[in-house]
Symmetry: C2
Subunit: 250 residues, 2 copies
């Protein structure tokens, strides 16, 4: 059974305001839910159509019918399991090594993809400007496929953050007219790579704090090609930084 108040709570968590208020978020699907449990996220409650699916220590467990699950899911193809987790407190986050920073990335799918890329490339900390889409937005949670459980996502005033780290870190930014990334030296110490908004790129106040402007050259018809999507550009640039360390650290 799903009570009215439970439905109301679950539904409210589609809005950032209520996620902040309740310190909770929604995750759906066996794999995604398992990843959060394995990463030590505290479960609030779990709704599933399959009794045997989980052995949980904490949190409330509810066996529900398929039609009840349909009422609480927002997925087109319900995943047999929906869970509410508490948003963890951030502690001891590392700001060393290679850090990715996002200046107002707005699309949940892009943020989800970027979190997966951080996970793949071993980026522990993702810094997001306060205007960047919330990482606990259900669409982001689903598209990360569990990677969100392994990457620390920190929301902050990005101008202040970059100012604070400008002497300890090398700060790179992706621009259409930057220097070709292939030829640019990638520093191996503490480094921040900044990626900009989907439509407008890196904003003016952030641009002033960038120390090295880099770009991915295009090989197609120069006149016509659209810019690369921010998630694609992030994939390529993270690979560029990591490929250099791959050789030097061997």
């Amino acid at each position: 059974m799903v009570s009215k108040s439970q439905k109301k709570l679950i539904n409210s968590l589609h809005q950032k305001k209520y996620r902040k208020q309740h310190h909770m978020f929604i995750a759906e699907g066996l794999k995604v839910v398992q990843e959060f449990i394995r990463a030590g996220f505290q479960l609030h409650s779990l709704y599933t159509t399959e009794e045997e699916s989980f052995d949980i220590e904490k949190g409330q467990f509810f066996l529900v019918s398929e039609s009840e699950l349909k009422q609480i899911t927002q997925l087109k193809t319900p995943q047999k399991i929906l869970a509410l987790f508490f948003i963890p407190e951030k502690e001891n986050i590392s700001h060393n090594g290679l850090i990715l920073a996002l200046d107002d990335v707005r699309d949940p799918g892009n943020l989800g993809t970027i979190i997966r890329l951080c996970d793949w490339f071993g980026i522990e900390t993702l810094i997001c400007s306060d205007q960047t889409v919330d990482c606990f937005n259900p669409k982001v949670v689903q598209s990360t496929m569990g990677s969100l459980a392994r990457v620390n996502v920190v929301y902050t005033d990005l101008v202040d953050y970059l100012k604070k780290h400008s002497s300890s870190h090398h700060i790179y930014g992706a621009f259409m007219d930057g220097k070709v990334v292939y030829s640019e030296k990638k520093e191996s110490g503490n480094t921040i790579l900044v990626m900009g908004n989907e439509a407008n790129g890196i904003s003016v106040p952030i641009e002033k704090l960038i120390q090295k402007r880099i770009s991915i050259p295009r090989f197609g018809d120069l006149q016509e090609t659209e810019s690369l999507n921010v998630a694609m550009a992030t994939a390529i640039l993270l690979n560029e930084f990591r490929r250099d360390s791959f050789f030097t650290e061997k």
Copy 2:
């Protein structure tokens, strides 16, 4: 006005069967429609809420109300313009240089992203196995942002295609357990890079025809990280091939 028969035609084009039968596809939004016109695609008909938006030479022009446009669009946010184009006949397609081949990529968003990547990296020809999602699927058309107008997408029996080109082309394939792409020599002559299906990777019959197995190393926790999404992996690998030619051709 949009007549009943026009609505029926437009609606039918969401299915591959009818796109094949009518040799037509749907494009929506000013930018996307303009790109197809500029690339020389033949317009069948154009429906718009804004009279002054187009100067078209061929094809029928219909001024429609917003509510009529809502009836024929499948976009959540209608784009003020919807057009039907004829699917062009393929002529004189180049099979030289770097070619990308897809072995059963099923997700429209992934194919759309990959077509954009081909455009960016100057890949003129994209070979798709017959099971790969149709590039004239409306979701693919929209997500390519006009790049589809500049990339030749060819559907064929991929086993036959690779067999036919196995002596004239170097054939690379992306595998989880391939050799690290950074250290692998990327041939500068005729080359085919094969990417596999989202869930299953490259299929067994195709695998047998791969000459060099390559992979993108992961830097995160080896046990837990998901594989990279196929569009991400394609972005990184196309960049790897192009970065080498960037230096040799300068």
